[in-house]
Amino acid sequence: MSSTPPLPRWADIGLLPVLNLMIAMVVSGLVIAAIGENPFDAVAVMVKGAFFYDGSLGYTLYYTTNFIFTGLAVAVAYHAMLFNIGGEGQAYIGGLGAGLVCLALDQVMPGFVTIPLAIAAAAVFGAAWALIPAYLQAYRGSHIVITTIMFNFIAAGVMVSLLGGVLMQPGQSSPASRTFEPSSFIPFIHEILNGIGIEAARTPLNLSFVLALAACVFVWVLIWRSRFGYSLRTLGQSEPAAAYAGIPVGKTIVVTMLISGALAGMMGVNEVVGVNHRLVLNFTAGYGFTGIAVALMGRNHPVGIVLASLLFGALYQGGAELDFEFQTITREMVLLIQGLIILFSGALSYMLNPPLARLFARLSVGPRREVQA
């Protein structure tokens, strides 16, 4: 490490993620070629499917909404050096909270009461699902990764039990709740656009997207412009230093995880109140895990997370198109790409660092080298 100078900032933030992404894409392309299809055709299909068909952009942005929430959840915890891989469970339980509010109030309250309460409930339930792992990490020293994994499975079991039991719509046999009253639906973007005279295709994109963007601003202010964010980042840099500086370590861990859980929980708003309008099984569909890839690619910064979410939104929507266009490629191809992105921009993110740094050192001129020495 000491022998090579650090990378220029722009290369670290801009070039390295792009290079890592490109490696992941090249490997995915090789897999497609190995299957016997043309990777460039596949890319063309995905790009068309994600952006150019009627309504495809709406679908892409609908997926993006989910990934922004779960990506932010991972990022907030990561700044405190906490690895929250419980986003999946927190989103599931967050959706439960939003759903319970809708089921309780949709027939007696107007939407402008129900919807904000549902959003709040999603945040509270998501946070609550992160509380026990957070407490155990902070005060009992058990590893947050393991406990959040366990809580993902516990959430899944609880939801199966509830949706097949007390919450199941009477007279039905499928594990799902009744559909909410339309007054409690979060408005779809295409409805709004059509309302002001712009033609738009029906898509699941709804105002939760705006909520997601607001969450990005909130996270940016929280982490880089608030007192709490300062202690959070200090804790992430060095726990002993944080303790020495008088930062309450345990409390900071717990509060950070609560915020992280609340963000993940709000993904449930998009799915439950925005799109499905009822509680169904597995509405989280792995988006919580995708949030990890999103946070890694986006370098745990809200702007990066929006970009990475857009990329993954396009992958998911474009991937669905693969099913129709190819006989031998399915949408699970996207999982493969996702795995490769986590591998190259997460686990192997240091791999390109030394050679790249050496390259830059060679390219840079004399004076700068003297500074290094």
């Binding site: 897999v31 299957i35 016997g36 690895f83 891989i85 026990i132 155990l136 009992r140 020293g141 058990s142 590893h143 990764v145 393991i146 406990t147 994994i149 366990m150 809580f151 499975f153 516990i154 899944a156 079991g157 609880v158 199966v160 039990s161 097949g164 895990f289 990890i292 890839a293 890694l296 006989q327 031998t328 490629i329 399915t330 699970e332 191809m333 996207v334 999982l335 493969l336 790409i337 996702q338 795995g339 490769l340 986590i342 591998l343 997460g346 686990a347 192997l348 993110s349 240091y350 791999m351």
Partner: protein, 324 residues
């Protein structure tokens, strides 16, 4: 007497069958984690092993070729994990997660392209699967009270891999605690600096640990698709790798205790499927879904330190940087 005991014995029999992949994966996790590598990639190795076994078995018609390929593929996945987190000192959790998601994507992608059955392999015939092994004298002893039941019903008649799993426990215990390799492996998970200063390669030791883990997970995968099941179904590992991880922690990173936890978790699964729809006094319908999440709850309670303390290897999760 046999009529009274039979349902109980059959539940235990199912316990053994359900615990087999857990035991193998838990032993794999144990070797890996004792060497200092967090192994949440058990799930991915299990899944890719299951796919490889079924795919090769159906193509070649030879179940042992399937088993061999399962091991090869699972070790390859382990090496990806190792390359990222041992060689390049990447985050072990992230790279484990990458392996799991890669396995989910790869198995379906390749399966779909190769067999055109929506990501499954064709159903396997009896020849392409492991058959039951009848232990000696099982038939002769069948009518002996109690012993006959225990021996002929419970112990005999399982697939080869069930016995491999049972043998893997003393084997791993012996390897870890009675051999020089095991001593070094445990040391490398506690104080890698000491091992390094003794002139032993930390990297190579950890690679060997994860390769062994890959082998065990591959066997477990072959069990899922070619012994317990009859073909590969997408996502067929269904969280078993994570339950095994929980069992290993529940067993406090010790082989015999981990096996005990696997049997307990296997029993919970066997009992819950037996209790489906059964009315219990006071509770009413058996809460099957809740019994199935008991392993996770128990593990969290253990981690909380409420009964005994589960202390992981000291150097776990930290990439080793050699000092100059």
């Amino acid at each position: 007497m046999n009529e009274v005991l039979l349902p109980f014995i059959l539940t235990l029999d199912a316990t053994l069958r359900l615990a087999t992949p857990l035991i193998l994966c838990a032993m794999a996790g144990l070797l890996s984690e004792r060497s200092g590598i967090i192994d949440i990639s058990l799930e991915g190795k299990l899944l890719s092993g299951a796919f490889a076994a079924a795919a090769v078995s159906t193509v070649t018609g030879n179940v042992y070729m399937g088993l061999g390929m399962a091991i090869v593929v699972s070790v390859a996945m382990a090496l990806i994990h190792g390359f990222a987190c041992i060689t390049h000192r990447g985050n072990q959790i992230i790279s484990g997660l990458a392996v799991n998601i890669l396995a989910s994507g790869l198995t379906v992608t390749i399966g779909f392209a190769a067999f055109r059955q929506g990501g499954q392999t064709p159903p396997l015939s009896a020849d392409e699967r492991f058959g039951p092994i009848i232990l000696p004298f099982a038939d002769a002893l069948r009518d002996v009270p109690l012993i006959g039941l225990l021996y002929s019903e419970l112990l005999s008649g399982h697939k080869l891999i069930v016995y491999i799993a049972l043998i893997s426990v003393p084997l791993v215990a012996w390897l870890l605690f009675k051999t020089r390799f095991g001593l070094r492996l445990r040391a490398v998970g506690e104080v890698p600096e000491a091992v390094d200063s003794a002139g032993i390669s930390v990297t190579w030791l950890r690679y060997r640990a994860i390769i062994l883990a890959g082998i065990l997970c591959g066997i477990a995968g072959a069990y899922l698709s070619t012994a317990h099941g009859a073909g590969f179904v997408r996502e067929m590992s269904a969280g078993k790798g994570y339950i095994a991880l929980a069992a290993m922690i529940f067993g406090k990173w010790r082989p015999w205790s981990a096996m005990g936890a696997c049997l307990l978790f296997g029993f919970l699964e066997a009992a819950s499927s037996r209790m489906q729809g059964v009315e219990l006094p006071l509770i009413g319908q058996t809460p099957v879904d809740l019994i199935l999440i008991l392993p996770y709850i128990l593990t969290v309670v253990l981690l909380a330190g409420f009964f005994g303390r589960a202390v992981p290897p000291k150097a776990i999760g930290e990439p080793y940087v050699k000092e100059h």
